[in-house]
Symmetry: C2
DNA sequence: CGCCAGATGTGGTCGATGTCAACATGATCG
DNA sequence: CGATCATGTTGACATCGACCACATCTGGCG
């Protein structure tokens, strides 16, 4: 029982997604064109219609793949961080988010493109995004269990964490804050997320 | 003064920007079309060319106006917050950012649209964005002077703060975290930005 | 083996768009 | 009053997304 093997071209759907991503990397989201993608893959201009209802569907597919890649990267980093130091795992997760964004700016842009803002139209995309969020929530809850994260509604805390890393990623990609090296900005932002803007009273090291 | 448009519109440039914003609010960024905008204003399809070199230029103009409006809102809120409690002013500034985003989601989307990602091509836009950043930095520095903000490079701190409020705004606009009311999410996120994710030892009273 | 139905790709077409160039109009200033 | 230039118009063109009819391939079924 073989999977639906490619019939004519050979996995045209994935080839189109790949070509779309390449195109975006080269010339930006606005340059993404169904016809150009088809051209690159070597099919006629109407072939993509068999796999994507419209342009938005292609964008959504690229975005979905981006979310899956992001989650994979986060999970990998999380797994490789020492489990005994939960604050480090959470940190690593945040850094991983921004790292992925900087490594795949084109993907990130598509993932939050206005064209797929209405995720209810793209359930698969919504699910992939949701999984990223869940990864974050899980780590927050774990951090709370181990006393490394302040108590409170995990959803609220994870929303705050996600806001920070996401904003950080977007701003870095857009080059809004490139005076220093991106790595330094990431570290500084994640530190600040961890510690807060307000001064911490005791000069002595946090223990526990 | 009802006037049928004389041959010369008078202030076509601003009228186009306004119409563009309306259109985006009604039907989203992708629906923004030079021709449709021209239609709404009642001029022919090529008239906008006299004021905007291309579509991106119109988008940039809308975005620039968005940044200016955001800055105005932030300054207003900042001025109305008690100057003696710097942590409140900073908080208010953050809340103002997200408030503006939620009140003008269309504007926000345009301001960070991929079409104007390369701000070097739109110097005026870059300047307007820079001013928003400066407003934030100023408040951070003030907060540090008054001991309400942890010491450190103001640029780093403001980048972190900007990341948080911006990420918060984007996520809320995209409806990624709408389980609770937006206002509650904003408060929670700004609180977290202030206090940090890590637990704080003393349960000191902190209002608002 | 042969054939058919559905999946996949082709080629053509249509309306809309962004951009350009040539032209018309009217405001400004001598 | 007249010239000049910014502003708006008209017409054209290439490209795009979407749609359709048709061709071709695949896999299943008699």
């Amino acid at each position: 029982m073989r999977k639906k093997r490619p019939y004519h071209h050979g996995n045209l759907r994935q080839a189109l997604i790949d070509a779309a991503l390449e195109l975006i990397e080269e010339r930006g989201v606005p340059a993404l064109t169904l016809r150009e993608v088809a051209r690159r893959v070597g099919v006629t201009h109407a072939a993509p219609q068999r796999h994507f209802a419209d342009r938005a569907a292609l964008v959504a597919a690229v975005a979905e793949q981006g979310f899956r890649g992001l989650r994979a990267h986060m999970e990998a980093v999380r797994a490789s961080a020492p489990a005994r130091v939960p604050s480090q795992r959470l940190r690593a997760l945040g850094v991983a988010y921004v790292e992925y964004a900087l490594a795949h700016p084109a993907h990130l842009r598509v993932m939050f493109s206005p064209e797929v803002a209405d995720k209810s139209r793209h359930p698969q995309l919504a699910a992939a995004a949701q999984e990223v969020h869940e990864t974050l929530v899980k780590q927050i809850v774990e951090g709370q269990r181990q006393g490394a994260v302040a108590p409170g509604d995990p959803d609220e805390l994870s929303f705050a964490a996600w806001s920070m890393v996401h904003g950080c990623a977007i701003l870095l990609i857009d080059g809004q804050a490139s005076r220093r090296s991106p790595a330094a900005s990431i570290d500084a932002a994640v530190d600040r997320l961890h510690l807060g803007l307000a001064p911490r009273a005791p000069a002595r090291k946090r223990r526990r």
